[in-house]
């Protein structure tokens, strides 16, 4: 914001720009930091010499909170990690618990999850890429993808009744089957989206102004990216084809045919293009999963964890007991340690869960990809101009919720 400077920063503002190094406060509420984090840039003219990051402005103590909530109440918390793609977080968490309790998940549930997760990935990448457009000055490129995003929201809404923080799915499956409205909406989405998406793509991807702006902005080499434990599209933009979906397939990802797009230089353009291509691949995956959607139940047979139908609760003593046990969080959870990771919108989203058999996790640690790769930001922007720094930041898709936990 204009002058959210501390007293010290004010004192420094008398430093000169040329010759001397000036300090610029980039954040905490600068318009280009879509979210809240602060970068104190040391600049020489327009060139960035170094920068220092401050994060934690929306630290919400997820991990401590998780230690105080029963397992089924953690799903709404994971919503708010990477809120651009909450369903992936939800399902990642559910799969972690299912792994812990050793549950068998029907194929249909797995496919349904893939559909929802890929929709979430599309939504996530769309928001990131449209914001790159906005930061590059093409404001309209924000509105076209957002119209499409609304459709994804509507799909979520059909399934779970919420738009953004979905709390979608349950341990063991979904709370309801795909509704007829969902089917029609998904079909029309699959039909209209690629066209609208290619239109968006045509506005930026081969536009020379945009290419000039993004090529070479904020590059990182594959070696450095690996040292910084990058993952997700940002890592793939450097040319490394690491994808959890391919490396450790979960939820039947091994059934689907998709390619892993990679970039060359790891710069903003590569990140943009990788995300664009991933959106196309996601559409392919959704089509495959939807066309081959197996028949069956939308939930696993887990009486200990999946709430019984209300009718049973009312009439069946056993169901009523399960109901109370699940809601009170008194079901038997095996003690143990489990790590499960999914390919989130930003990369490898991991859940490291230590259970002591109690009502709540003993320790739950989220491997938040944003948090890990955002630390490379100063290295990526040093020597770049301020404009590049803005684009690099938006192309890294740093989500404050995921960053600060």
């Amino acid at each position: 914001m204009s002058e959210l400077k501390t007293k010290e920063a004010f004192a420094q503002s008398s430093e000169t720009i040329d010759g001397n190094i000036a300090t610029i406060n980039f954040g905490p509420t600068h318009p280009s930091t879509h979210g809240i984090f602060q970068n104190v840039l040391k600049v020489d003219g327009e060139k960035i010499i170094s920068s220092e990051q401050t994060v934690g402005y929306i630290h919400r103590a997820f991990e401590k909170l998780s230690e105080r909530r029963p397992y089924n109440q953690i799903t709404p918390i994971t919503d708010r990690l990477n809120y651009c793609s909450s369903p992936i977080n939800n399902m990642g968490w559910e799969m972690t618990v299912e792994k812990l309790i050793g549950a068998e998940i029907p194929k249909r549930v797995q496919y349904m999850r893939v559909i929802i997760m890929e929709l979430a990935r599309i939504a996530d990448h769309l928001i990131c890429n449209s914001v790159i457009g906005v930061d590059a000055g093409a404001l309209t490129s924000f509105f076209y993808p957002f119209t499409e995003r609304e459709k994804i929201y509507e799909l979520y809404e059909e399934i779970c009744g919420a738009r953004l923080t979905t709390n979608i799915g349950r341990i063991g499956g979904f709370e309801r089957d795909f509704t007829p409205a969902f089917h029609t909406k998904l079909q029309s989405f699959l039909k209209t989206f690629p066209k609208a998406f290619e239109e968006f793509d045509s506005m930026l991807a081969r536009n020379r102004i945009f290419m000039d702006r993004t090529k070479g902005a904020g590059p990182i080499s594959a070696e450095r990216a690996l040292a910084y434990s990058f993952s997700g599209p940002n890592l793939r933009a450097t040319g490394v084809d690491y994808d959890v979906r391919a490396m450790h397939p979960y939820s039947s990802y091994e059934d689907f045919d998709f390619i892993i797009p990679v970039g060359v230089n790891g710069d903003t353009y590569d990140r943009f293009m990788v995300r664009q291509e991933e959106i196309r691949q996601s559409i392919r995956i959704i089509e495959q999963a939807y066309n081959n959607l197996p028949e069956g139940s939308y939930k696993a047979d887990l009486p200990d964890f999946y709430l019984p139908a209300k009718a049973d609760v009312y009439n069946n003593m056993e169901a009523l007991i399960y109901h109370f046990k699940i809601v009170m969080g008194e079901t038997e959870i095996p003690p143990g340690e489990v790590y499960h990771s999914v390919e989130g919108g930003n990369g490898e989203l991991g859940f490291y869960l230590i259970s002591d058999g109690g009502r709540t996790p003993y320790r739950l640690q989220f491997r938040r990809p944003c948090f890990i790769y955002y630390q490379a930001y100063p290295e990526m922007i040093s020597g770049m101009s301020i404009s590049d720094a803005v684009l690099t930041l938006s192309s890294m898709n740093v989500i404050a919720g995921e960053l600060d936990a």
Binding site: M1, S2, E3, L4, P28, T29, H30, P31, H34, G35, I36, G56, Y57, I58, H59, R60, A61, K64, L65, P76, I77, D79, R80, Y83, C84, I127, F142, F143, F146, T147, R149, E150, Y153, R163, L164, T165, A400, G401, D404
Partner: protein, 184 residues
Amino acid sequence: MGKIEDLEVINGEGYQLTTLDKAIGLARANSVWPLPFATSCCGIEFMATMGSAYDLSRFGMERMSFSPRQADLLIVAGTISKKLGPVLKKVYEQMSEPKWVLSVGACACSGGIFDTYSVLQGIDRIIPVDVYVPGCPPRPEQIIDGVMNIHELVKNESNRRRYSDEYKHLMQNYNIEIEDGKAE
């Protein structure tokens, strides 16, 4: 906690709205430039509100003012942690009068689900809030409702209220200094 509206009886003694006030209020209400202080999830829903499907610009509000000097409405959307609180307060102080605050979402209004050591339990502890929008995150419809409530406030506000003693007292409750002399 004192609220702006508590301290004012809109049609009460000495604050009878004049025709001029009404005209000014109407003009102001149609030109509320927001400063989106979007931190997290609600920020994304706020973006959706800006988007084509809901289009906040119908209210004359698409002109975002990222500089607090130019903004009329501070839209706080998302969690405000204790670390961020002073920043928010500073932004509020930097805004020039008249200014309004819309608190969007459970986190900003009350801390919401995050009853934790690091989260501020409602921004009305540090700045006065005019309208609360519940929801986590609220639907764009709700945000628009909140905005329209703000418009109602703006329309019915006397032009002089910002210089009244009650207002100064309210600001003192929040330890916010009113910068004198430059106004008017």
